[in-house]
C-alpha cells in the first residue's frame, strides 16, 4: 500500500518478508522494578507461512503478540510490518496500520452483541473510508462465504455456536485482506472437534496463500503449521520449519463421530 513508507525485503524463493523483528525488547516498569518481557527477539516471517508461536505463560508470547499486532511498540529494536517501521508510530497511525494490514482472531471471539454476522464482519471496513456501504457489504459476504458461513449472514451473534462465532471472527479478520492473520489461542474456547474444524479452515487459508501467525500454548497445533517458534523467558528458544505438516482434515475425519449425528 502506497500510503505507508515501505522497505520491501524478499527471500531466496522470491517470497516477500511480511514481518521482521530486529532485536525487539520490551520492558515494563512495575512499581520500582523493571520486568523484561522480551529480551531481544529477532525473526522474519515470509508471505504464505503458517507460524505457530508457543510458550508457557510468562514466556512473553502475549507481549510478542501485542508487538506483532501493533497494539504496542518495542522499548528498543525495530519491527517492520510489511516493510513499514512501527516503533515510532503514533497511536492513531498504528490504528490505521492495524486496520489495513492485520486481521485479529481472539480466543473469546469478541463479536458485537446482538449484531448480525455480516455487520460484525463489516466492522473493520467501517473504519476505512475507501469502502462505501455497498462495497463493505459485498466484502463481508465474500469473507463469510470463505469461512463457510454463506448461509448464516443474518444470524445474530447470540444465535450462533462457538464454532460459528469463531468463523465469523475469522471472516472479520479476513475482510480487510490483511498482510497477516494473527490468531490468539483461537481454538482455546472450543471443543476438540470444533478446534479441528478451525484448524481445517486455517490450513485452507494457508493453502490459499495467507500468512498466519497462531499464538498458542497447545503443542499439538504446531504439527499442523509450517513453522514453529518457541519462546521462553522473553527469548526465542527454538525456531524450526515443520517438514511433516499433518492434515487437520484427516485428523478431523479420524475423530469419533458425535453421538447425535
Amino acid at each position: 500500500m502506497s500510503e505507508f513508507k515501505q522497505n520491501t525485503n524478499v527471500d531466496a524463493q522470491g517470497r516477500k518478508c511480511v514481518i521482521e523483528l530486529q532485536n525487539v525488547k520490551r520492558d515494563f516498569i512495575v512499581g520500582s522494578e523493571t520486568v523484561h518481557a522480551l529480551r531481544g527477539v529477532s525473526f522474519k516471517i515470509y508471505e504464505g507461512e503458517f507460524v505457530t508461536i508457543m510458550g508457557t505463560s510468562g514466556s512473553g508470547k502475549s507481549t510478542l503478540l501485542n508487538q506483532l499486532g501493533c497494539l504496542d511498540t518495542p522499548t528498543s529494536g525495530e519491527y517492520y510490518l510489511d516493510g513499514i517501521p512501527v516503533k515510532n508510530m503514533k497511536r492513531s497511525q498504528r490504528a490505521r496500520l492495524r486496520n489495513r494490514k492485520i486481521g485479529f482472531v481472539f480466543q473469546n471471539y469478541n463479536l458485537l452483541a446482538k449484531t448480525t454476522a455480516v455487520e460484525n464482519v463489516e466492522l473493520p471496513l467501517m473504519y476505512n473510508n475507501n469502502y462505501n456501504a455497498k462495497e463493505r457489504r459485498r466484502a463481508a459476504i465474500e469473507a463469510l462465504e470463505a469461512v463457510g458461513l454463506g448461509d448464516r449472514l443474518m444470524h445474530k451473534s447470540n444465535q450462533m455456536s462457538g464454532g460459528q462465532m469463531q468463523r465469523v471472527a475469522i471472516a472479520r479478520a479476513l475482510v480487510n485482506n490483511p498482510a497477516v492473520l494473527l490468531a490468539d489461542e483461537a481454538t482455546g474456547n472450543l471443543d476438540t472437534r470444533t478446534s479441528f474444524e478451525m484448524l481445517v479452515l486455517f490450513q485452507k487459508l494457508h493453502a490459499e496463500g495467507r500468512t498466519i501467525i497462531f499464538v498458542t500454548h497447545n503443542p499439538e497445533i504446531a504439527q499442523y503449521s509450517s513453522r514453529n517458534i518457541m519462546l521462553r523467558d522473553g527469548k526465542i528458544r527454538e525456531d524450526v520449519l515443520n517438514e511433516n505438516i499433518l492434515s487437520a482434515a484427516e485428523a478431523l475425519a479420524a475423530l469419533p463421530k458425535p453421538q447425535d449425528e
Binding site: L71, D72, N110, L112, K114, Y127, R172
Partner: protein, 406 residues
C-alpha cells in the same frame, strides 16, 4: 469512521438499551419541558398584561406632581400641589397632540345605600374621562359639562358597587341616591363591567363624579392629584409628552436647567415597567428550571460512564480492528448528543402540550419560538459537555487491556 456510520452505530447502541436510554432521557425531557412551560407562562402573562393595558387606552398619558426638588429634599408626591386648574385649562387650549384631557381628584371612603355599605374610591373627573379610559355606560348616561360647572352631586358607578349596595349587579339603580362620606350623590349612570385586571385589581369597584364636586365637597382641595389625557395616537405619545411638558413648564415658570415639578408618563412606559418586572420573574423561573437540565446532564454523564465501562471489550475490539481514539470518542459523543437531543425534542413537545392545556384552562400561556430554538441548542451543548468526559475516557483506553477486560 464516516458520519453516517457513526450515526448508525449510535442508534444501534441506543436501541440496544432502550429502558436505560429512556430513563436518562427523562431528566432532559422534564428539564426542557419545565423551561418551555416557564417561558410560556412568562410570555403569556406579559402578553395578557399588555393587552389589558392597551384596553385601558394605549395612548393614555398621565401627569403627576413629583420630581420636585426643594433644597435637595425630594418631596412626597402626594403632598405636592403643583397641578392646578390653570394647567388643565392651558392643556385643553394649547396642546394639539392631546385629544382628551381630564383632571383627576380621588377620595376613598365608605359608601352607603339604605342599610348596606361598602368601601370604594370616588374619582373626580371630567366627562372626557370616559373616552380616555375607554369606559362605556351600560345604563343611564354620563354626567355632563353642566354638572361639572355646578359641582353637581351626581355620579356614575361600577358594577361591583351596584352589587354591594343593591344586592344585584343588574339592579336598575339609575336615579337612586347613595351617600359617600355623608354627602348624597344621585346615580346617573352605570359603567359596563371591565372585570379584574391582570394584577388582580377589581376595575369595577369604582365611582366617577365631576372633578369639581370631588374637589370642593369631598377633598376640599384646589389641586389635582393627576391629569389624565389621550394623545392623538400611540406613536405620537412621546411628542405629546414633550408638548405637555413645555406647556406645564411655562405655566409653572420653571427656568431652563431646572427640574420639572411634575412628571408625564405614557402607558407605553408603564407597560415597559410591567414587562421588565415580568421578565425578571420569568428569568428566575427559567433559571430554576435550567438547574434541572444541569442535573439531567449529570445523569447522562453518569449513564455514559457506565456505558463506556460496560463496553470496554467492544472499545478494545474496535481499536484492534483500526478505530482511532477520535473514532471512539466521536462514537460516544454522538450517542450522548442523540440522547439529549431526543430528550429535547420530546421535552419541547411536552412543554407545548402542557402550555396548550394551560391556555385552554385559562392560564395565559404562549411558547416563544426562540425558547424552542434555545432549548435545542442547550440540549446539544449538554450532550457535548457531559458526553465529553465519558468519550475521552473511552478514547484513552489501552486496546490491549480493553480487549481482555472481563
Amino acid at each position: 469512521m464516516s458520519f453516517t456510520n457513526l450515526l448508525r452505530v449510535a442508534i444501534t447502541a441506543i436501541m440496544s438499551n432502550k429502558s436505560r436510554t429512556l430513563l436518562s432521557t427523562l431528566g432532559i425531557i422534564i428539564g426542557v419541558a419545565a423551561v418551555i412551560i416557564m417561558m410560556a407562562i412568562g410570555q403569556g402573562s406579559k402578553e395578557s398584561v399588555r393587552s389589558e393595558l392597551s384596553k385601558m387606552g394605549s395612548n393614555l398619558l398621565t401627569i403627576r406632581p413629583g420630581s420636585d426638588m426643594r433644597g435637595g429634599v425630594r418631596q412626597d408626591p402626594s403632598a405636592m400641589q403643583t397641578l392646578k386648574m390653570d394647567d388643565y385649562l392651558s392643556i385643553q387650549e394649547k396642546a394639539h397632540l392631546i385629544t382628551h384631557v381630564s383632571p383627576e381628584v380621588t377620595a376613598s371612603g365608605q359608601v352607603i345605600y339604605g342599610s348596606k355599605n361598602t368601601t370604594s374610591s370616588m374619582y373626580g373627573e371630567s366627562p372626557e374621562y370616559m373616552d380616555i379610559k375607554l369606559w362605556q355606560i351600560e345604563d343611564g348616561e354620563c354626567f355632563n359639562d353642566e354638572d361639572v360647572k355646578k359641582s353637581a352631586k351626581v355620579c356614575i358607578v361600577g358594577k361591583t358597587v351596584v352589587e354591594e349596595l343593591f344586592g344585584d349587579k343588574n339592579y336598575d339603580c339609575v336615579g337612586k341616591t347613595i351617600r359617600f362620606k355623608s354627602i348624597p350623590f344621585r346615580i346617573v349612570g352605570v359603567l359596563k363591567a371591565k372585570g379584574y385586571n391582570s394584577w388582580g385589581m377589581d376595575q369595577d369597584n369604582v365611582m366617577i363624579a365631576p372633578y369639581t364636586t370631588v374637589m370642593k365637597r369631598l377633598a376640599a382641595q384646589t389641586f389635582f392629584s393627576s391629569i389624565q389625557m389621550s394623545a392623538v395616537s400611540e406613536e405620537r405619545s412621546d411628542d405629546a409628552i414633550e408638548e405637555v411638558t413645555a406647556i406645564l413648564r411655562e405655566n409653572h415658570k420653571i427656568k431652563d436647567g431646572q427640574e420639572d415639578d411634575f412628571s408625564v408618563r405614557s402607558q407605553q412606559e408603564i407597560m415597559e415597567t410591567m414587562s421588565s418586572t415580568m421578565d425578571t420573574i420569568t428569568l428566575i423561573l427559567v433559571v430554576a428550571a435550567a438547574f434541572s437540565l444541569l442535573v439531567a446532564g449529570i445523569g447522562i454523564m453518569n449513564i455514559m460512564l457506565v456505558s463506556v465501562t460496560e463496553r470496554t471489550r467492544e472499545i478494545g475490539l474496535r481499536m484492534s480492528v483500526g478505530a482511532r481514539g477520535r473514532d471512539i470518542s466521536r462514537q460516544f459523543l454522538i450517542e450522548s448528543i442523540m440522547i439529549s437531543l431526543t430528550g429535547g425534542i420530546i421535552g419541547v413537545g411536552l412543554g407545548y402540550l402542557v402550555s396548550w392545556i394551560a391556555s385552554v384552562v385559562g392560564l395565559p400561556c404562549s411558547v416563544p419560538l426562540w425558547a424552542v430554538i434555545l432549548s435545542f441548542c442547550v440540549c446539544a451543548c449538554i450532550g457535548l459537555l457531559f458526553g465529553y468526559v465519558p468519550a475521552r475516557k473511552a478514547a484513552l483506553m489501552d486496546p490491549i487491556e480493553a480487549i481482555r477486560y472481563e
